[in-house]
């Protein structure tokens, strides 16, 4: 059937045909009363549109996010009205702050019941407004094709984000003449600002004359599919480059100009040198407070050049001497020919010598511990050994996340999937399901703490039912480790509600019929990781790590980046 020939179908079928027209072949969701007409159509279309039943709507939202982050496509999650819709909200908020393209479709009570406090009625439009890029309630089936076309256009264009479309039950039943046209523009919405060649020239001149320049890149490089251009940009200019947590994996870990992570648990050199560089070039990043620390003492000595797609980010936190608006793929392409071939040998040596200090004070102890207990870092080292950097690593939130991002090796882009801005515990397990389905040929490893794991542990059933070959590593310290670390450092070791009495995680995984094992000894670690990674099935590995270890370096909240602590 051609999409442009009108046919008479139900609103629910129109939803499915709209999704197919957008190239969607996989969605995540959970059925319920107000979305049953759509599920009925999903049953009929199951050959062309696969639906993955998660065990909680939050799982559906995070799975859609994981899918989007691994594949670069729009993730789709659907749920019923009321609690189904509100359970999506955490995933939507996460997608909003981490700029993940996602379309959520929720059922709603019939339009004549709106506002009557009907069964499972909730104002999801009102609730989701602050955490969506756009949202809309459909009450007439005739709106479905063009509103869904608009939803996909908004979700993926410009700075991506989540869109929620709420559809009343009567609109799902109503018959319409269906005709689908892709959205190609909205008059009130300019997804990508025009390139200003003068700002690019100004930026090039400053970069060419810089003595101690530093590049900080973020997820914009990945979202803009600008990894190759970015690599050319740093190689031509010879400028050391450092990353925010969401920028990780855009260029390989081993790239000689990749000098590590900035921010609260970032590397020593990048943080210290932020306050010594003469030019700071920010590419597709938004100066989050976890990156900048105290803004009054952040790169005050430097000229700041900010490559950014979202005009609202310019001067929001850090004043930009030169703002280069636009998609960084376009602006990098324009600026590269203007950049003089450069090298900054002695400046780069500063990064290397500070890395040597970090290595002595922190990394050696983490990676090659003399103590008996296993560390999180050596668990990641074991993963690196067998993946050779070629795996998607999905992390949750907390100590394990910081350790993984610090130590995991990457050779391909879109390989680091984590909840950055929102810091959503419970993200990793469902996001890993989505990532594996979005990149089925890649090894996907979820690294999770024992706390976050239990927030969405029910998704083990989704893994079992769909035979999703994700590898789950729980780094278990029987604590909410990051909070415990703060309690130790800033609250005189008053461990309020951070000690966890945990269940038998291996038995639980086995209860879901997954292969599962536990290690707690150093001499068993490599073999266990190897067994897990060579399995072609889902696999659970619990690694019992030292209980009261801390993540360093660390910039205490409110302190300056240059006050980073090594212990």
């Amino acid at each position: 059937m051609k999409n442009n020939k009108p046919i008479k179908i139900s609103g629910a079928e129109a939803v499915i045909r709209s999704l197919l027209a957008e190239g969607v072949d996989l969605i995540y969701g959970y059925p319920g009363g107000a979305i049953m007409p759509i599920y009925d159509e999903l049953y009929k279309f199951q050959d062309s549109l696969q639906h993955i039943l998660t065990r909680h709507e939050q799982g559906a939202a995070h799975a859609a996010q994981g899918f989007a982050r691994a594949s670069g496509r729009v993730g789709v999650a659907i749920a019923t009205s009321g609690p189904g819709a509100t359970n999506l909200v955490t995933g939507i908020a996460d997608a909003q702050i981490d700029s993940t393209p996602m379309v959520c479709i929720t059922g709603q009570v019939a339009s004549h019941l709106l506002g009557s406090d009907a069964f499972q009625e909730t104002d999801i439009i009102g609730i989701s407004t602050p955490v969506t890029k756009w949202n809309y309630q459909i009450t007439k089936a005739s709106e479905i094709p063009y509103i869904l076309a608009k939803a996909f256009y908004i979700a993926k264009s410009g700075r991506p984000g989540p869109v929620l479309i709420d559809i009343t039950k009567d609109a799902q039943f109503e018959k319409i003449n269906f005709k689908y046209e892709h959205c190609i523009g909205i008059r009130s919405y300019k997804p990508v600002p025009d390139l200003d060649i003068d700002s690019i020239k100004d930026a090039a001149e400053i970069i060419n004359n810089a003595k101690k320049p530093m590049i900080v890149w973020g997820q914009g490089v990945i979202l803009g599919k600008a990894e190759e251009l970015f690599k050319q940009f740093i190689e031509t200019s010879g400028i050391p480059a450092v990353w925010t947590i969401l920028g990780l994996s855009a260029i390989p870990t081993s790239h000689p100009l990749n000098k590590g992570m900035v921010g609260m648990h970032g590397n020593y050199g990048p943080n210290i040198l932020t306050n010594e560089c003469d030019v700071l070039v920010a590419v597709g990043m938004r100066f989050d407070d976890r990156v900048t620390g105290d803004l009054e003492n952040y790169a005050k000595q430097a000229k700041v050049i900010h490559f950014e797609i979202d005009p609202a980010e310019i001067n929001k936190n850090v004043y930009a001497d030169v703002a280069v608006l636009g998609d960084c793929r376009d602006s990098l392409e324009k600026i590269i020919p203007m950049i003089k071939k450069g090298s900054h040998v002695s400046w780069i040596n500063r990064f290397d010598s500070l890395m040597e200090i970090e290595n002595e004070k922190v990394i050696k102890k983490d990676m090659f511990p003399k103590k008996e207990g296993l560390t999180m870092a050596e668990s990641i080292k074991a993963i690196n050994k067998y993946t050779k950097g070629d795996a998607i690593i999905v992390t949750d939130v907390g100590q394990h996340q910081m350790v993984t991002c610090r130590y995991a090796n990457f050779i391909k882009s879109k390989s680091n999937i984590t909840s950055g801005g929102l810091g959503t515990m419970g993200f990793a397990l469902p996001a890993a399901i989505g990532a594996k389905m979005g990149a089925p040929n890649r090894q996907v490893i979820a690294v999770i703490g024992d706390g976050g794991y239990q927030m969405t542990i029910q998704e083990l059933a989704t893994i079992f039912q769909n035979k999703t070959a994700v590898k789950i590593v729980v780094l278990n310290n029987d604590f909410l480790g990051m909070v415990r670390q703060w309690q130790q450092m800033f609250f005189d070791k008053r461990y309020a509600s951070t000690k966890m009495l945990n269940p038998d995680f291996v038995a639980i995984a086995k209860g879901y019929y997954l292969d599962a094992e536990r290690v707690s000894k150093r001499n068993e670690l490599d073999a266990a990781v190897s067994r897990m990674l060579s399995s072609d099935k889902p696999y659970f590995l619990e690694i019992c790590v030292e209980k009261e270890a801390n993540v360093f370096p660390m910039i205490p909240t409110g302190a300056s980046v240059s006050d980073i602590r090594l212990s």
Partner: protein
Amino acid sequence: MNTKETYTISIYSENNIGLLNRISAIFLKRHINIESFSTSLSEIENVFRFIIVVNMDPDQIKKIILQIEKQVDVIRAFYHTDDETIFQESALYKVKSSSLFEERHIQNVIKKSHANIVTVSPEFFVIEKTGFRNETESLRRDLLEYGLLQFVRSGRISVTKSKMKISEILNTFNKK
């Protein structure tokens, strides 16, 4: 530097029910009090205009405008100081009719204020006054002693001295 000033924000937008919520959330999230808020059709068919009055730092207002413009359904947002706009507010005053006849002085108050009498009934009469805040406010104070039964003041409405160029923006889109 950070001294607060009164700004009139003008937002041109599509007619989307949810937009009001989206815009008020931008202020709510940052604890910015909205002094006055009004919305109506604009000079362009199907384009709506919000007029919002706020007290803010000069730095803060620029960021707020960008956050507002970031909303998909917003065409453009502008901010202006009082010098750059022509603005008015309307007020209605409901007073006991008896005072009009018993208190001769009230007639002078009304005459002096250039207010209009909208309606008169045996029980009450209603006065309308359009002007600056201090003008509607001083009439309110003057009428208090004669038994003000009801008082209401509208949000600010304003037009700018400079051109808005919304039609041009929309035309550029249509040409693409």
